[in-house]
Amino acid sequence: MAGMTTTGWEVVIGLETHAQLSTVSKIFSGASTAFGAAPNTQASVVDLALPGVLPVLNRGAVERAIRFGLAVGATIAPRSVFARKNYFYPDLPKGYQISQYEIPVVQGGALACIVEGKGFEPYAKTVRLTRAHLEEDAGKSLHEDFAGMSGIDLNRAGTPLLEIVTEPDIQVANIEQAASEAVAYARALHSLVTWLGICDGNMQEGSFRCDANVSVRRPGAALGTRCEIKNLNSFRFMHQAIVYEASRQIELIESGGTVVQQTRLYDPDRDETRSMRSKEDAMDYRYFPDPDLLPLEISSEWIERVRGELPELPAAMRERLVAAYGLSPYDAGLLTADRASADYFEAVVKALPAGQAKAVANWVNGDVSAALNAGQIGIGAAPVSAAQLAGLIARVADGTINQKTAKEVFTSLWQAEGATADAIIEARGLRQISDSGALSAIVDAVLAANPKSVEEFRAGKEKAFNALVGQVMKQSRGKANPQQVNDILHEKLAG
């Protein structure tokens, strides 16, 4: 395998993503879209394509498409058309898929992302979208377990999809970096569709499926022949698959071969892509407008109503957090990685007096995040609620406990050892000692017991001061108010 650096080659990538829309029923029938049911228990007569059935469009699917289009700054087509894509396959009951061809519901748009990876600093990238259109999903074919036959489960047939297509805007002269850009876009798109509540983003269940169109070329030359890598169901596999494929194409051309346009599947076990079918045998889908459906007309009133109901989008929220709370863009970025985290953060901030936003950000991006990762759960399942965390941070802010104690209390709260921070502080007598008299006494005792440190400090050694502070904290079992200890020590040592 050639090295990851490319000499004289540019990798060009365009992405197509199929996002299953989160409607309760299917796009053209009333059957349920819930995942995991027994085979063929969620396929209505319409999904089975029995003689005489007809499709009826699900308004919720259209609404979600509009939401998406507005969030990416696209044009919502006032009139778009459903078209039949004709081909035979057992998991396609009608022998055609209802999709959109010449006139899709969403046109244009763009998505910003932050590209991260090995060997370079994170940077911002905007990927333009060509279009997004509505279509129905096919059923599932299962080829094992059926003794030489194939099992067809039509539960998925008719689930609404939004197919989101980018321009080939990823053009990088470094394979790893090109893959990183693709993954960054996919992550940002995943984040956006879940943020908007239009897709549950569950890649294992097939709710969010990415295909990457990869080609290579000499910089400045015309676009090379592309291969489509299908069904990359994790970001890690996407990265690996793109790296493999770009390398494969470069090696092939450098050894005198030509890239054949084809569809390839990524095999994660062997870390390679394999040809699935050649585009030379490409199907002629004989697209034509579906005569069973009227053209989809979307009024400007509908668009404005959806616009009014849009949640604050991640990019706007990041800006607001930076402006209103003085957070760093990095911290704001972490907090807005998903809507649940952002909502949690804001709920904690709102439950506290002004000026605590940075502290909250540190807690959420620090201890909370670490605890979530350790427990492999999402913030929705966090055992410490926003209210509980606010209660804890309030006690640090008002001096009741110090930061170190707070971390202990947090752990206790996480393990449900107390209902509130106050309850735990009370039960275990964790109040910070802020009484200057009491602290003075402890300081006196420490100074008396550590004459060597006192001498070293007076001789100019700063480290001796920290040792004395450490002793005071130890004597007070960590409960001494560190700021006050500092002040008192300085006072007494000066005098």
């Binding site: 007569v45 005489g52 007809l54 004709n86 004989r286 005569p291 459906l293």
Partner: protein, 495 residues
Amino acid sequence: MSLHQASLAELAKRLAARELSAVELAQHFLARIDRHRALNCFLDVRPEVTLAQAREADARRARGEHGALLGIPVAHKDIFVTRDFASTAASRMLEGYMSPFDATVVARLSAAGMVTLGKVNCDEFAMGSSNENSAYGPVLNPWDTSAVPGGSSGGSSAAVGARIAPVATATDTGGSIREPAAFCGITGTKPTYGRPSRWGMIAFASSLDTAGLMTVSAEDAAWVLSAVCGFDPKDSTSVDRPEEDFTRDLGHPVQGLRIGVPKEFFASGLQPEVERPVRAALEVYRSLGATLVDISLPTAELGIPVYYVVAPAECSSNLSRFDGVRYGHRASARGDREPLNLEDMIKRSRAEGLGAEPKRRILIGAYVLSHGYYDAYYIKAQQVRRLIANEFQQAFTQCDLIAGPVTTSVAFGFGEKAADPVSMYMSDLYTIPGSLAGVPSVSIPCGFGEGAHASRPVGLQLMANYFDEARLLGAAHQYQLATDWHRRAPPAFAD
């Protein structure tokens, strides 16, 4: 007067007066159906089911219901799916198929209390003009059993023509109600496209298929039409208009009515023995006080090539669901060789299950939708269709109704046109333009052929603008008050 010579109004009166029960009425027609099996009108007769429905109608009457259609028998074209009878579309592909739901048209007539006599024969998948394309044998014309009854609704027209059913549902895509009605000397009614629901109609050409009725008279049609037409949320192309009483204009005299006569409908293709009765009918209208206006529909002559691009295109896609996977004929593993793989199974299932005419139209349809030909054929045809529709609108500024022949000839003999598909397609010359525009149209009997064809009926076609069925049926009724062609039954079936 025997029961099969009575009008629906007369039957309703006798049922309401308890002089007659629904059971007796059903038994009367079941006996006639059995006696005249040689016509091959019926594909599925289940007397026990029919009589159970009749008993239910009588019970409803006993409970105080008194709708006009309660207890009236009806036969359903085998294009409408029914729960209680097989639905085959006259194809081997659907031999014995039992639908889990009723077509909306069937359900609406059932709800009104009509009693199903059984499913009637037609051209396979509604494709044909002679009922010679049925996989279950042709239907005979009751007026002359050496002649075809017309198609595709040949079973419906022959059944009403022979008076073995008082009403039959039918479908019209390019003339499949009007042409067989003309050939069998009865009244065929095709409403505005979108008025009757297409839910449960096995689809042929989605933008053209229109459910309608075969009856002995226009008055009978008006009685039943309100139950046939009506908004259905399960059909996205269903027109949402308030329910209508289509009998309201039956009594209106035609004084002052402007009847447009298109010169293109009286050109060289029209047989003299058809032209004479049609012109005589126009004179009857003039004598009743209507004004005849010369109009021109110059693009109408392109109707046939337009139709035979658009309809096959849509049907090539609509018939893709018949792949042997979920229902219908699957190429058998018993006896002859097992399918080698999926593709072999689909190909053989369709090759074995579908007849020659559906195959022909699927091939044409796939061709005109294929890459490189779509613009030249499909798009062009749809554009010309728009021109034809516009010409009707233009014509209706000069007249209230349009009148002319239904067909170029009287019913032809078996096998006469079967060898030459194009000459068969020419049978729809005068009916196709109205289908392409979607306007409502009727065929009413106005005479007979001459010489050897003296027993073969001739039909007059009347067309109205969109949603003007009440005026259309009113004008047809006024003609039937002044003439008695519609009261004539074929001698072998009169008693």
